[in-house]
């Protein structure tokens, strides 16, 4: 008789384990020869990061069907000789210490009418989750953890504009965590560029109500017309052309900005990073390790996702010919999702002199949570997935903003060189809502909010003096470079009567309506 295998439905289970700093030891090395190091760097980074978040407890969901992994499985792993399971484990992290009896009592309380109390306890302690894939060499799947607090130990500030809420369902409890999804590349369906783009799309696609693709779908979309490495699977990296193709496929428009050398104190790259990351458009950053950049090694690049900014509270100006401060000078570093390391990896920006050319380029030092440097690289380019109607670039915004800031600094000498220019995109409804808190006169607020037509996204130039905002310029983000794009100048509290006259003349010259 031929034995037939039945396929019963799986049984799940939940375990509670205390979190330890060497949490990665919970993951035994796979049997057989492991090509890379064990434990993977990402697991050790995760343990370090969770230690900084003061994690105390790990709740393990034994059987979890992960949307990203199951698509990877269907695309690639189902056709492997080894029988990869189609499910994962999911780890939930909590900052409260509790054991299995306590978990069961929380559950029992919920079952006896105390759901809100149990849920509140779990939510207050919840630090996020990490999916553990059944892939021996690359277990870290979709992981969402919160960012660290606003203040750094060095007196700087963390700013994250591309994080969002993720809803998590655990045994009947609805929990949430605010962050941006990270995962390790598996080298089957995804390489670094795929996972960096996947992270980037997790914010902008959700914001634009677009479909959020899985890594396998990104790889398929990228390889539709062009194959950089000869075959699409296993993944052998993407070139920038393929990344653009994938971005277009998922309903967004790619913008490429090549890194520019630092010249006369002007840090062009910082301005671009501030503009796009500060607007919530997490860019994919193409970087090259130092050795590769100096021509000592192969020349392939690496991709990371720029998630946040590390800023100081004071802008400065080093170019004596300029009468204003550029908010870009506040940018001291970044927080990046680096799939070779982990989420929100602290990255210091520096000026790196290239030995071959003596050019000064933007250097990046990516570090572990305790500050230990991991890798040094040079920025090559930003690839920004933008909503298609955002045609006005940060560069074009700056072209107007720099002129206005320079003239403002000159015409309002009592401000010294303390006029600061910043620039970003804002959603028009968000700006209108914020404007109701500016202290505008009723007529001015009414004109702005009820009688002025704005594009969905506006380019926002903010000029600020030592005592607060001077004026804002809203630009039509749908406009092409050939046409004027300024819509309104909104006068703010820091403007004197004399300053108001100046801004009135600016507004007339640039074709913008004055709101005063």
């Amino acid at each position: 008789m031929i034995g037939r295998r039945s396929h019963p439905y799986p049984e799940g289970g939940i375990q509670i384990v205390p979190f330890r700093r060497d949490f990665w030891k919970e993951f035994p090395a796979p049997l057989g020869w492991v090509e890379g190091t064990w434990p993977p760097v990402q697991l050790r980074y995760l343990a370090d990061y969770l230690t900084h978040l003061e994690c105390k407890t790990v709740l393990v969901e034994d059987h979890y069907v992960d949307r990203d992994y199951i698509y990877d499985m269907a695309t690639f792993y189902a056709r492997s000789l080894r029988s990869y399971p189609n499910h994962c484990q999911r780890l939930h992290f909590f900052r409260e210490a509790f054991d299995n009896p306590r978990w069961k009592s929380l559950f029992a309380d919920a079952n006896h009418g105390e759901m809100s109390k149990s849920r509140a306890y779990l939510q207050n302690a919840y630090l996020g989750f990490s999916v553990v894939r059944p892939l021996p060499g690359s277990p870290v799947g979709r992981t969402v953890l919160p960012t660290l607090g606003r203040n750094t130990d060095a007196g700087l500030f963390r700013e994250f504009h591309s994080i969002r809420d993720y809803v998590v369902h655990l045994a009947g409890f609805e929990l949430s965590v605010r962050g941006l999804a990270f995962q390790q590349q598996d080298q089957g369906v995804s390489a670094c560029a795929t996972t960096a783009l996947w992270s980037s799309l997790h914010y902008v696609a959700a914001k634009e109500h677009l479909y959020i693709p899985t890594p396998a779908e990104i790889t398929e979309a990228a390889a539709r017309y062009s194959l950089a490495g000869g075959r699409s699977l296993p993944q052998e990296g993407l070139n920038i052309q393929q990344i653009c193709e994938a971005i277009r496929y998922f309903g967004l428009s790619p913008l490429i900005v090549e890194s520019q050398p630092i010249d006369q104190g002007v840090e062009h790259d910082k301005a671009q990073l501030l503009g796009y990351i500060g607007s919530g458009f997490a860019p994919l950053l193409a970087i090259r390790p130092l050795a590769a950049f100096e021509g000592l090694q192969r020349t392939d690049g690496h991709a990371i996702c720029g998630v946040g900014l590390k800023v100081s509270d004071q802008a400065y100006q080093t170019n004596e010919e300029l009468n204003f401060r550029d908010a870009a000078s506040r940018v001291a570093g970044l927080y990046v999702h680096d799939d070779r390391l982990g989420p929100y990896a602290s990255t210091r920006l520096s000026q790196y002199t290239v030995k071959r050319t003596s050019q000064i380029r933007t250097g990046l030092t990516i570090a572990w949570p305790d500050g230990q440097p991991d890798e040094e690289a040079v920025l090559e380019a930003l690839v920004v997935p933008l909503p298609p109607k955002v045609r006005l670039t940060i560069t074009r915004m700056r072209a107007l903003g720099l002129s206005l800031a320079q003239a403002t600094g000159q015409l309002m000498p009592d401000l010294g060189t303390k006029v600061t220019l910043s620039y970003r995109y804002a959603l028009a409804p968000d700006y209108r809502e914020a404007a109701l808190g500016f202290g505008l006169r009723d007529e001015a607020a009414y004109t702005l909010n009820c009688e002025t037509v704005l594009s969905r996204y506006v380019g926002l130039l903010e000029l600020t003096g030592p005592d607060g905002p001077l004026y804002d310029v809203l630009m039509d983000a749908t406009e092409t470079p050939a046409n004027p794009a300024a819509i309104v100048c909104v006068c703010r509290r820091g403007l004197t009567p004399k300053g108001l006259e100046i801004v009135d003349s600016f507004a007339r010259k640039i074709g913008a309506r004055l709101i005063k």
Partner: protein
Amino acid sequence: MTYDRYNRPENREIEGNEPERELTPRSEQEKQIWEVLEQARQNVKPIVKKEIEAEIVTSELFNLRLKTPPR
């Protein structure tokens, strides 16, 4: 409901059939302010030029392959 926003006086100037006239300053002070603004535009031109160049993608960059280098 009427679609009369195009007929508002402030929009007629822009969208009317009259030929566009060159914008002229309303006063001597405004003229000076515009001159300063134009001078400022010239001052920052080299910065803007570099940044516009950064958006012109070279084929070398377009073909740069991003693949995690071995550790």
